[in-house]
């Protein structure tokens, strides 16, 4: 039949659809249109159903234009598809990186291959302008250009001209009589251009920064007793060229108020006296909102520690304007006692559930305890397996007194893996394989093995420790060690040691933070001294004993208390360890070594932590000294290559060389200096020196008494990553032959800066220092670094 001219749908009466035809399709298949079209064959449709269909098809976002017509009983849908985006290029954006921008565009639906919608482009442009304005760049101009291509495609280029951020030229506090502008503006994030602005960018205006600062202004006064303090108004204005910002805050200080008394009311669960002790403000003190809040927090904590997770404490001030005093009533609303239903972990794709659960102090089915949860968070942080840990306690739907505890964590490589090439000050180029894993395949076990040989070390180590051999945390492990070490290359005196050791390691927790450690091991140590190269005292020691191999079976008892709050960058807590190592009777040489380590982290502010640390080591023998004597012989002048002739002293007796072996054996001596001890001095070179007459080659002897210490200012927020630590340090101390030789005057000291980075391959340490107190002859080393595991 002759095709009927399609009549526009607007002015016609409803009809039954015999068939549906779609014209103008390119990319989208007819099937797709049918899926989204709310009309099927055989439907009776009228104008409203048609309008509804057009809306439905528009919502798919595929089409620019949709027309619906009627041809006899056939419904004709005419569409023109939106073009697809072929390529998106960004030009000129510096402050916001391209990936971030492209991701933002992708979220809005503008990505290569997607359909292109001009309306979206407008929305994107405004969004980008808003983002740049928020960064204080008010002169930004964003110009998108769309170039049409064949096959209904478009290329999209977004040209960004960022301009410069508006600089704050003037911050004025009006109405502050008691405190000067400088005092008030001290802690602010916004500031006028100053010499540090290139780094802190504090002169770049942003609305969030300002609102944060105004809050600081409020607490500045409320923390100093100005109860009636009020910010009447603030004005923010900008120069006509949009490059200077001017901030004015008009305040009314009001009077200083003092506390006339405090009261605790409401249902306090525990007797009021118990809570009274927590109140930090007492009668006569100047009012301080900070102390009020600290009091409120500590009362809430006490209640939240015993199940009252939703406890609220409202400090209600009763202000007496005439006497300018405030009576504070802490109104306690404990809410219900809450129980923990389930504890769930998110993000542990490698670490096993039990390794985390065993650190928890909060149990399922137990009343909610904020202290237990906080303690669990610290214990998880001390494992060193996770970068950041966040804990949420969502309420269980349908139950007023049950919550779940959801801990999400971001795993990090915990340990180190050095393969092949390694370099360290100490041992030169290392060809080695060394794996040290603190979370071996997520099992929480510590496994380490090292196979290595180079110029002066032949070494094979295997160590294994299961920190939770029992569920209560008794740890059990063992080490197998074989080493051939040429001490001379390690800046120590010229002698070589070959030793093999087998050790069993136990650890028993005795309190929440204290652990007793026991190591039990047997080892064999062969010392090779080279006459003429090895210092005389060592040769005398060996001669006195008359043997070179030392067998020993030894044990070390140690007690450690560790309350630090993180594994890599602790900002709070102390660490103390005292260990006594003793070779048991029957060993070739019977001696003991005591070692005390101490480190305390003082949190000074959010961006500054002071570390004070010290280490004291002392060793001595406990068996009786062994002395031997040897006749001194000399060359027979008459028969040079014949037998040597004894030398006589002046009253005719044969001259004897008497040597005794006493005190700590030299191969167990302490040493000082180097990257892990007193920085700025070459490894192991401090302490008593031996020098052959006539040679200027110093051979450090080490000593049996070691005292070193350090003061270090750490800047945790300078590089905002959990795995790096920047600090300025002052190291001091020295090693002495024995306790009587101890003399503070002999201490060496050096100051400098250090960078520690926990890289995937292992700890990298770099420090730059200058000696503060040295004596000539010390081996100075301004730049020190190691990467890979320290040997």
């Amino acid at each position: 039949a002759q095709a009927l001219a399609p009549s526009p749908i607007r002015g016609f009466e409803p009809f039954t659809v015999a068939d549906i035809r779609v014209d103008g399709l390119q990319r989208i298949s007819a099937g797709t249109v049918y899926t989204y079209l709310p009309i099927e064959r055989g439907d009776r449709i009228d104008r409203s159903r048609v309008a509804e269909s057009i809306r439905a098809l528009f919502r798919t976002g595929f089409f620019n234009d949709i027309e619906i017509e009627r041809q006899g009983d056939i419904l004709v849908i005419k569409v023109s598809e939106r073009p697809a985006i072929n390529k998106i290029t960004l030009v000129g954006n510096k402050d916001i990186k391209s990936e971030e921008l492209l991701k933002g565009l992708k979220d809005i639906g503008l990505a290569e291959g997607e359909t292109f919608d001009r309306l979206q482009l407008q929305r994107v442009t405004q969004e980008l302008v808003r983002q740049y304005n928020n960064r204080g760049k008010y002169n930004v101009s964003i110009s998108p250009t769309v170039t049409d291509l064949d096959r209904n495609r478009v290329d999209l280029t977004i040209d960004v001209k960022e301009g410069k951020a508006a600089k704050i030229k003037h911050i004025n506090i009006v109405g502050n009589e008691t405190f000067s502008d400088e005092e008030i503006l001290d802690g602010w994030e916004s500031g006028t251009t100053n010499w540090l602005s290139w780094y802190r960018r504090d002169d770049q205006y942003s609305r969030e920064k300002l609102s944060g600062d105004l809050e600081k202004l409020n607490s500045f006064y409320l923390d100093r007793g100005y109860v009636d303090f009020n910010i009447d108004s603030t004005q923010v204005s900008i120069g006509p060229d949009r490059r200077e910002m001017y901030l004015t805050a008009n305040v009314r200080e009001g009077e200083v108020y003092t506390i006339s008394g405090t009261r605790i009311s409401g249902d306090t669960i525990i007797p009021v006296e118990e809570l009274q002790r927590l109140v930090l403000i007492k009668e006569g003190d100047t009012f301080s909102r900070r102390l009020l809040e600290l009091t409120r927090d500590s009362i809430i904590s006490v209640l939240a520690n015993i199940g009252y997770a939703f406890a609220e404490v409202e400090p209600i001030p009763e202000i007496d304007r005439d006497t300018r005093t405030v009576k504070v009533n802490f109104y306690v609303q404990p809410g219900k006692r809450v129980y923990v239903r389930r504890i769930l972990y998110k993000g542990n794709t490698r670490t096993s559930d039990e390794v985390i659960r065993r650190e928890m102090r909060q149990f399922e089915g137990m009343w909610y305890s904020q202290a237990a949860i906080d303690r669990s968070k610290i214990r998880l942080q001390r494992l060193g397996f996770f970068e950041d840990i966040s804990i949420e306690t969502p309420q269980v739907p349908g139950s007023a007194d049950q919550v779940d505890v959801v801990i999400s964590m971001k795993e990090r490589t915990s340990g180190s893996f050095v393969f092949g090439l390694g370099y360290s000050q100490l041992s030169g180029v290392i060809t080695s394989v060394s794996v040290q894993q603190n979370n071996f395949f997520g099992s929480g076990d510590r496994v380490g093995f090292t196979v290595q040989n180079n110029r002066f070390v032949k070494r094979f180590d295997f160590s294994y420790l299961d920190p939770y051999f029992t569920d209560d945390g008794i740890s059990l492990g063992y080490n197998v060690i074989y080493r051939e070490l040429d001490q001379g290359q390690a800046n120590i005196a010229n002698f070589t040691t070959d030793n093999g050791a087998l050790q069993a390691v136990f650890g028993v927790p005795i309190t929440e933070t204290d652990t007793v450690g026991v190591v039990f091991g047997i080892d064999r140590n062969q010392i090779n001294v080279i006459p003429g190269a090895t210092p005389d005292p060592f040769i005398d020691y060996i001669d006195a004993l008359g043997r070179r191999t030392f067998n020993a079976w030894r044990t070390e008892i140690s007690w450690a208390r560790d309350s630090r709050n993180a594994f890599f960058n602790p900002t709070r807590g102390t660490y103390q360890r005292i260990g006594a190592e003793i070779t048991l009777p029957g060993s070739t040489v019977e001696y003991y070594k005591l070692n005390y380590q101490f480190a305390k982290y003082w949190p000074i502010s959010r961006s500054l932590v002071l570390l004070s640390a010290a280490e004291i080591g002392y060793g001595d023998s406990y068996g009786d000294a062994i002395t031997r004597s040897f006749p001194v012989t000399a060359e027979n002048p008459f028969d040079p290559n014949g037998p040597r002739v004894p030398v006589l002293d002046d009253n005719g007796d044969p001259l004897l060389r008497v040597v005794t072996a006493d005190g700590l054996p030299f191969f167990e001596n302490f040493y000082a200096g180097g990257v892990r001890s007193i920085r700025g001095f070459e490894d192991n070179t401090l302490g008593p020196i031996f020098r052959f007459p006539g040679s200027d080659f110093n051979q450090p002897l080490g000593g049996s008494f070691k005292t070193t210490g350090t003061l270090e200012l750490i800047f945790p927020t300078l590089l905002d990553s959990d795995t790096t630590r920047v600090s300025a340090f002052l190291d001091f101390g020295n090693v002495f032959a024995d306790t009587d030789a101890f003399d503070v005057g002999e201490f060496r000291a050096s100051a400098g800066v250090a960078l520690q980075w926990q890289a995937p391959i292992g700890p990298i340490i770099l420090n730059l220092s200058t000696p503060v107190k040295k004596q000539d002859g010390d081996e100075i080393e301004r730049l020190q670094f190691t990467f890979g595991t320290q040997f």
Partner: protein, 369 residues
């Protein structure tokens, strides 16, 4: 090929037009030049000097208040107030009034420099107070306007208007006309207030905020307002230049233009520089443009100072420009310093023009015929 692109303009704003040299101009001689304290520096105050009875009065943010002889520039007296003076000074009825950044208002005897009284307002004062009929009217940055008796500084009335969250830096100086005070506000309105009791007589919106973000919606009336006869001439940012009837506030004519520094009247011409520093002369009765000078485009000009034959502007690099009143042609150019001139050039007796840079250097010029 990105590397070959010329160094894009990092500021992303139009660079100031290069100054062509002037061939047929008029010569200007510098009568005297003095340094009056540290000036307004970069606080966006547009702090001009005040002229009264052959004397020039200048205040600065270091706290110095100085009076000089207008003819010779010799210092008559100087007071070190120790307060950051930012608004004015304004002189009238034998009283000098100046406002500070700390919300203090001070009144002095202009002859001797002795302090008469002192008062406190609620925010910083960054524009010239006006004096009339025994009252000193002080506009304050938080939108309030105070009136004090010039004899003893007692407060007579306060007029208050709300402000948008982001405004253009600067406030319009109050203008006293008869028994009315004309005030320009940051929300694009001009109000007339009774000088006697501060009650509002009328209020007229000059321009409506339009645009999507805070910046495009700024419509401040911050520039100089001119009242002459029964007409009030006003200009607003992102808005228009408008003439209003003094008595009723009824608009007479308006011209679409974005202005930040305000306008001036000379004879039958209204002189104004728009945001892009194109200078216009408009017929005061109809607003029709008489001539236009865009040789100083994008040089961030001050409000115009007028003499009988010239219009005088300061610009962002410290230059001072004389334009012919007749046709706007560039007549002369001098330089006050390396830093910007932001204060409006003031015209004294016999055509002497007093221009002050933001570093405090004050120079008196007289242009030849």
């Amino acid at each position: 090929c990105g590397i070959f692109k010329s160094k894009t303009n990092r500021e992303n704003i139009e660079p100031p037009t290069e100054l062509a040299d002037i061939d047929t101009g008029v010569d200007v001689d510098q009568i005297w030049s003095e340094s009056t304290g540290k000036g307004e520096r970069q606080l966006g105050l547009r702090q001009a000097v005040a002229l009264d009875g052959g004397r020039v009065f200048a205040a600065d943010v270091e706290g110095d208040l100085t009076a000089l002889d207008a003819a010779t520039g010799r210092e008559l007296w100087q007071v070190e107030t120790g307060l950051r003076l930012s608004g004015g000074p304004g002189v009238g009825e034998d009283t000098l009034v100046v406002g500070g950044l700390d919300g203090t208002v001070l009144a002095y005897n202009p002859d001797s420099g002795s302090e008469r009284w002192r008062a406190q307002v609620s925010s910083e004062v960054i524009t010239r107070p006006a004096v009339g009929r025994g009252l000193a009217v002080v506009r304050v940055n938080d939108g309030r306007t105070y009136a004090f008796s010039i004899t003893d500084g007692t407060r007579r009335w306060v007029y208050d208007r709300g402000l948008p969250s982001l405004t253009l830096r600067g406030n319009a100086a109050p203008v006293i006309a008869g028994d009315l005070v004309i005030l320009g506000y940051d929300n694009g309105t001009v109000s007339a207030v009774s000088l006697e009791d501060g009650s509002q007589r009328w209020e007229q919106t000059i321009s409506e905020p339009k645009g999507r973000n805070e910046l495009d919606r700024m419509v401040d009336v911050d520039g100089e307002i001119v009242v002459s006869g029964s007409e009030v001439y006003v200009a607003s940012f992102n808005g228009q230049v408008q003439a209003l009837d003094l008595g009723s506030g009824r608009p007479l004519w308006n011209r679409e233009m974005s202005v930040y520094a305000g306008l001036a009247l000379s004879g039958d011409k209204i002189l104004v520089a728009d945001k892009n520093a194109n200078v216009w002369a408009l017929d005061r009765r109809t607003g029709a443009s008489l001539w236009r000078q865009d040789g100083l485009a994008y040089r961030w000009l001050t409000a115009p100072g007028v003499t009988d034959r010239h219009v005088v502007f300061g610009d962002l690099k410290g230059y001072v420009h004389w334009l012919s009143l007749e046709d706007g042609s560039l007549q002369a150019r001098e330089r006050v310093g390396r830093k910007a001139v932001r204060a409006t050039p003031q015209t004294g007796a016999d055509g002497v023009v007093y221009v002050r840079g933001i570093r405090g250097k004050l120079v008196a010029f007289r242009a030849g015929s």
